[in-house]
């Protein structure tokens, strides 16, 4: 058995917009590899802005999209291969979603608890309605709700926060190993978000479940996650433990994100720098961030940036940490290392792992 709970192996997703003849291709996810460890439940945040591909990636993990290439492995078993080793029900027992809009998560014309009962019965968690009721009551109480307050009601009788809790409760019924939360609190008032976020933390330990938390909000990502992957236009540009990445960013985009978050701590400099204007094209032959990068060099516009491994479980997709040089022989220490701990930086050219090495990251 693999010691990885989830492995996203070199997943790429290309969307075709327009017809077969005249349409264009849109590269939403570009060779992304990530993984989650099996031993301890953890929370991985995938942070990015619109167009980063984070939602597409989430939907691939949830089997709502098929990758154009690459695979997802759940506990070593292939999800998308030609003969997938996992049948759908087994997959739903292991992986459950939380969607962004709590009011769209349930049909307005059905009782909310009908979804809870369906989950318990269809996924064979309970044998009959009576047993299902007990399981549902337990799931609801672990999100702070009472089954009597939920039974027989329609979604419009609840607030967004309550519906989101019910959504979590439904996901917990099959005792999944992984919950994929796609911007679960963006549609909830800022002052109420921590209720849900804290709930994720306690559920992680209580139910022994890992979370993938998709968000554009760095602050909650920092608060809740163990690991963070920053995505930009389909690539993971930086990955590592959330503490290190967000307090000591290496990739210029990560730095830009951190500086743009309006917090109650530091005030922004009121410089007159022109705002970043995005280009329409999504180039794929060089660094996609080159046009906006304050540290850009000519090599960035001509070659794809390398995936630089940095000691301490960290990766950056950038030329900067390797002094803008091509080639696989450069060794460096951790550019942001606080002490002089000797570390070796393995350089993987062109965004792909060298040779036949096992490319699973951590």
């Amino acid at each position: 058995m693999s010691d990885l709970l989830l492995e996203i192996k070199d997943v790429t997703k290309v969307f075709r917009i327009g017809g077969v003849l005249l349409g264009t291709e849109f590269l939403a996810v570009d060779h992304v590899s990530l993984s989650l460890d099996r031993q301890k439940p953890s929370i991985l945040s995938i942070v990015g802005e619109s167009g980063s591909g984070k939602t597409t990636l989430a939907r691939i993990i949830l089997k709502l999209h098929e990758p154009t290439s690459g695979d997802v492995l759940l506990e070593g078993k292939s999800v998308f291969g030609s003969h997938p080793d996992l049948d759908t029900l087994a997959y739903y027992r292991a992986v459950q979603p939380i969607f962004q809009n709590p009011f769209e998560t349930f049909s307005m014309r059905k009782h909310v608890d009908s979804y809870l009962y369906d989950t318990a019965l269809n996924l064979k968690i309970a044998r009959d309605r009576k047993e299902a009721r007990d399981i549902i009551a337990e799931a609801l109480s672990s999100v702070g709700l009472d089954i009597n307050g939920v039974a027989g009601k329609y979604p419009n009788q609840f607030s967004g926060g309550e519906l989101q809790r019910i959504s979590v409760a439904r996901g917990l019924i099959p005792r999944p190993k992984l919950i994929v939360a796609d911007e679960p609190v963006s549609m909830i008032d800022a002052s109420l978000r921590m209720n849900i976020i804290n709930m994720f933390l306690s559920l992680k330990d209580e139910y022994n479940v890992s979370f993938i938390y998709i968000t554009h909000d760095l602050s909650t990502a920092y608060y809740v996650s163990d690991y963070v992957a920053i995505m930009y236009r389909g690539n993971v540009v930086e990955y590592g433990s959330s503490d290190r990445i967000l307090t000591n960013p290496i990739h210029p985009y990560t730095e830009l994100l951190l500086n743009s978050v309006p917090t109650g701590g530091k005030k922004w400099a009121r410089d007159l720098k022109p705002p970043d204007i995005e280009l329409k094209g999504y180039q794929n032959t060089a660094c996609k961030f080159a046009n906006r990068c304050p540290f850009v060099q000519p090599v960035c516009r001509l070659n794809k940036p390398p995936l630089v491994q940095i000691p301490g479980e960290r990766e950056v997709l950038c030329f900067k940490p390797v002094d803008y040089e091509l080639g696989p022989t450069t060794l460096r220490q951790d550019p942001e290392a606080e002490t002089g701990s000797a570390g070796e930086v393995k350089l993987c050219a062109n965004n792909r792992p060298a040779g036949g090495e096992d490319e699973s990251l951590f």
């Binding site: 307090t247 922004w268 995005e278």
Partner: protein, 329 residues
């Protein structure tokens, strides 16, 4: 510049009366950025509409006074009331709404939308002159001039919002109202727009009112901030003191509930829900959720009192004889 005195604006529908703004006293001063913060449903958007004199049934002002002081072309100060303020939309007071796509006409190019908004006001019939003026203004705001030839859907959300800011400020109004100008935009673009708004205000020295539920936004660019809860203002004062030492328990909990990068302090969201706007309780609206609630809070609504320099709060904790109870904020 804009004075609100105990303004009550209710939605009067056959089934119920929604008291969205229930007794608000507020000043919008010259040369300032005022923020109005609060969770969704607290009435801040309605308050903005009352400021903008954009009230249509079933929304109406049922009490209080709304007064604007406008400097006319001769430099004289004219006092305007509801019904009159709206005659000076775009020139004296303008409104930048949220949801840029629903505000711009999707089948009309941006340039024409500028024309439509402007020509009526300024009676400038020389199209070339208008185009030049718009072009140079866009350049001032660092917007590409190509924007004028585009349709709204050809622009990104961030660009559209910037266009709306340009549209709303082009005629140099004395008051600019922005309703959640950055919600649903990426954080990098959000910063760009907020800085743009701040720069425009700094240059024109007019008044900018920003409504947002995101406290961080207020911290970054407002000079003064008003915290709204359930139809009433509970605290108002200069931004930094309010953040450094929030006086109202709600303000404190609001600020507390937001995590920051670099800070692993445990945060709690506010528990419970605000009371209904249809049938609000007597006394302080926050009483049910307040950790410092006292009997008097439930009986009688506290009024806004100046507790520190220009810093007002509506809470009994800051009045004798209750001051000692809270301790250090």
């Amino acid at each position: 510049m804009l004075k609100l005195r105990d303004v009550k604006a209710y939605y009067e529908t056959p089934r119920a009366v929604v008291k969205a703004v229930d007794g608000v006293t507020l000043d919008v001063r010259e040369n300032e950025i005022l923020g109005i913060a609060g969770e969704s449903g607290c009435g801040k958007s309605t308050l903005l509409r009352a400021l903008y004199d954009s009230l249509e049934p079933p929304l109406k002002i049922v009490g209080g006074k709304v007064e604007a002081e406008m400097k006319d072309d001769n430099g004289q100060t004219v006092t305007l009331g509801p019904g009159e303020i709206r005659k000076h939309w775009w020139t004296f007071i303008s409104y930048i709404p949220q949801g840029s796509m629903s505000v711009l006409n999707p089948v009309v190019r941006i340039e024409k939308q500028f024309f439509d908004a402007i020509s009526r006001k300024h009676r400038l019939t020389n199209k070339r002159e208008i185009r030049e003026r718009i072009g140079s203004y866009l350049k001032e705001l660092q917007l590409p001039v190509e924007v004028l030839n585009s349709y709204p859907h050809q622009l990104s959300g961030g660009m559209r919002q910037r266009v709306l800011v340009a549209l709303g400020t082009f005629l140099h109004p004395q008051i600019v109202l922005a309703d959640e100008p950055t919600t649903a935009l990426d954080v990098v673009i959000q910063k760009g727009i907020l800085l743009m708004l701040a720069q425009v205000q700094e240059r024109m020295k007019n008044s900018l009112v920003i409504v947002s539920h995101d406290i961080g936004v207020h911290y970054q660019i407002t000079h003064r901030i008003a915290i709204m809860y359930n139809g009433k203002i509970v605290e108002i004062g200069p931004t930094e003191p309010v953040f450094a030492k929030p006086l109202h328990p709600y303000t404190e909990m609001l600020i507390q509930s937001l995590p920051h990068v670099g800070d692993h302090k445990h945060r709690e969201g506010i528990v419970g829900r605000p009371p209904s706007l249809i049938d609000p309780p007597p006394g302080c609206r926050f009483a049910a959720r307040c950790p410092f609630v006292m009997d008097i809070c439930r009986e009688e609504m506290p009024s806004l009192l100046e507790v520190e320099a220009d810093h007002f709060v509506a809470c009994y904790l800051h009045r004798e004889p209750f001051r000692a109870r809270k301790g250090v904020g």
